[in-house]
Amino acid sequence: MNRNFSFDCIGYALFALLLLVVVPWGLGFDGFELNTFARYLTLGMVAMALALSWGCAGILNLGQAATFGLGAYIMAMHLKLKASVNMPDGMPDFMGWTNVESLPWFWEPFHSLPVTIAAGLLVPAAVAAVMGIFMFRGRITGVFVAIITLAFLVAIQLVFVEEQRYTGGENGLTGLAPLELFGWTADNYSLSFYYFVAGCLICALVLALALVRSKVGLVLRAIKENPDRVRFFGYDVARYETLAFCASAAIAGWAGMLYVLVLEFASPTYMGVPFSLAIVIWCAVGGRDSLVAAALGGIIVNMLEGRLSDLFVDGWTLFLGMLFILVVLVMPRGLFGVFHGALARVIAFYRQARLERRESLAISRSVVSGTHDKGGR
């Protein structure tokens, strides 16, 4: 346990070092590359959020994109209102086109940035709470959770596309103002913006780690192994599962807010089935058993996708599909599993070696002492 924890710490420190120092330096502080990498980081963040529910508690959420998209739309609503101050009534342009009379009440609170940020975390969490209570009280598990979340995702995306008057429909929310935070204006091609995103990711990781390392995390892992036994011990399994589900949703919402800042628009495709399944795949590639590995998975797959689409304009999706198949076949626990296995082997080897050395020392000592004894006779 303790050794695991220290390994984790080393892993997290290396990850932070990678994000904060190696990446910006390696990218040569180029605005475009920093922006592209900031995008990868937000996607890594949502993969990490999924690992929190899937890897930790065994809840496979195929609708992770729904909470991600909610966060994205909430941030976009704030920025859209800021961009529309000069419009009549401060109403976003698309509402005028769709004959909306006045700004709807649920847009009003998003004039305020603190409310927006709080909502970006709490609304996804609240939606997840409702879903969680609904599912886990009924002891729904495994593939049924996956199907329910998937159906929910499709439904929520349809609603967002349908309600064009309030959500911008298929085009999403575009023409956004830049974010202003404590007098700092986010320029999404700047180094400071990159550090902002990287800082958020590391922050979220630390918080998620704190949850996993707490007693709650322990119970969750027990639930993943055998929910019935945990129930017999008197734990309220549904409550713990809902908690993990909510935490995962809040982080996904957070990532969604950042994603809007990076790309400067919100689109209903952020809530699409392909995107949602992609999140699952990033998480699987990195390794769902470790939060940091899942985040890395998100970053690596997207980086690879970027490189592949640069090299093979025609067939890059083919390579991507093959990669998924290979990962599932060859590395069932992702890169983390491979790494972990290798590490365990190295440690076992050293321990064996040390043991042998100790034994051989002991033998030689006994031999020495034996001769001594003999000599003593």
Partner: protein, 289 residues
């Protein structure tokens, strides 16, 4: 009243397409627990096979159905032997692998045939409509309803009255003990997968007169078909049939009362409710596993 019957027939026709897609999926999921997200791509391959046979051999859709069943079934067999058989003990991982297979199949078709939409002629003997009072039914859609029911019947016969079916049911109930009795489970699995894929291929060929044939055409179908399978209950053919009927009719009803988008949302929410309160499906498998 005519409107009601027209709409009821529309629902029936949607249900028949859904049933053909879902049947294959139900067998694959019911028998092996494999969540086959590449199923939509098998449908797409069926549609492209129909196009291929029509434009190079001049075969009509109906005449080429057996060939299409074989072609797509063989592809399914290859997919099972190549990838899926390694994943039987990891059902959730099949979601990822089959999604990858779907991407690969789509891209292969796109590279081989091109990404433009293909035209497949409809069978001319089924042109025209049957009108009973104000109720107008397209002959082709009537044909689809009956065809899907006969596919259902054939599948039922295969599963309950043939040696293969008996073996498959034995394997589903207890794989280890079936092996003790000398049943080659891997062969049974492979054949079941190929059969499911072949059914998807037929479904794909039969929808070509109604939709646009593109490499991405299957993606929309697979989620709905999967919901149908879950709602119907794992391993229950009757359940799948009833669930397709329910979903088709409910979609028709809701989209008549509201519009197509909100109709779909309402159906999805109803499905979520059903799964929550009846996770074993409408017709749960009574056999203990």
């Amino acid at each position: 009243m005519d409107v009601f019957f027209n709409q009821a027939f529309a629902g029936l026709s949607m249900a028949s397409i859904l049933l053909m897609v879902a049947l294959g999926l139900a067998i694959i999921y019911g028998a092996m627990g494999v969540i086959n997200l590449a199923h939509g791509e098998f449908v797409m391959l069926g549609a492209y096979s129909a196009w291929l046979l029509q434009s190079y051999l001049g075969l009509g859709i109906l005449a080429s159905l057996p060939l299409i069943f074989l072609m797509v079934g063989l592809i399914g067999l290859a997919v099972e032997r190549g990838v899926v058989r390694w994943l039987y003990h990891r059902p959730l991982d099949t979601i990822l692998a089959t999604w990858g297979i779907g991407i690969v199949l789509q891209q292969l078709v796109r590279m081989g045939v091109g990404s433009d939409s293909r035209y497949v002629a409809r069978p001319t003997i089924l042109d025209g409509n049957v009108a009973i009072g104000g109720v107008v039914m397209s002959n082709y859609r009537i044909f689809l309803v009956f065809f899907s029911l006969s596919v259902l019947a054939a599948t039922w016969y295969l599963l309950t009255r043939t040696e293969f079916g008996t073996k498959l049911r034995a394997v589903i109930q207890n794989k280890e003990i079936s092996e003790c009795y000398g049943i080659r489970t891997d062969r049974i699995y492979a054949l079941a997968f190929a059969y499911g894929a072949g059914l998807a291929g037929i479904a794909g060929a039969l929808v070509t007169p109604l939709v646009s044939v593109t490499p991405g055409m299957g993606t929309y179908l697979v989620v709905d078909a999967f919901l149908v399978v879950i709602v119907g209950g794992v391993g229950s053919l009757l359940g799948t049939a009833v669930a397709s009927g329910l979903v088709g009719e409910a979609t028709a009803l809701f989209s008549f009362l509201m519009n197509d988008t909100l109709g779909r949302v309402a159906v999805l929410l109803a499905i979520i409710m059903l799964i929550r309160f009846k996770p074993q499906g409408l017709f749960p498998d009574k056999v203990r596993r």
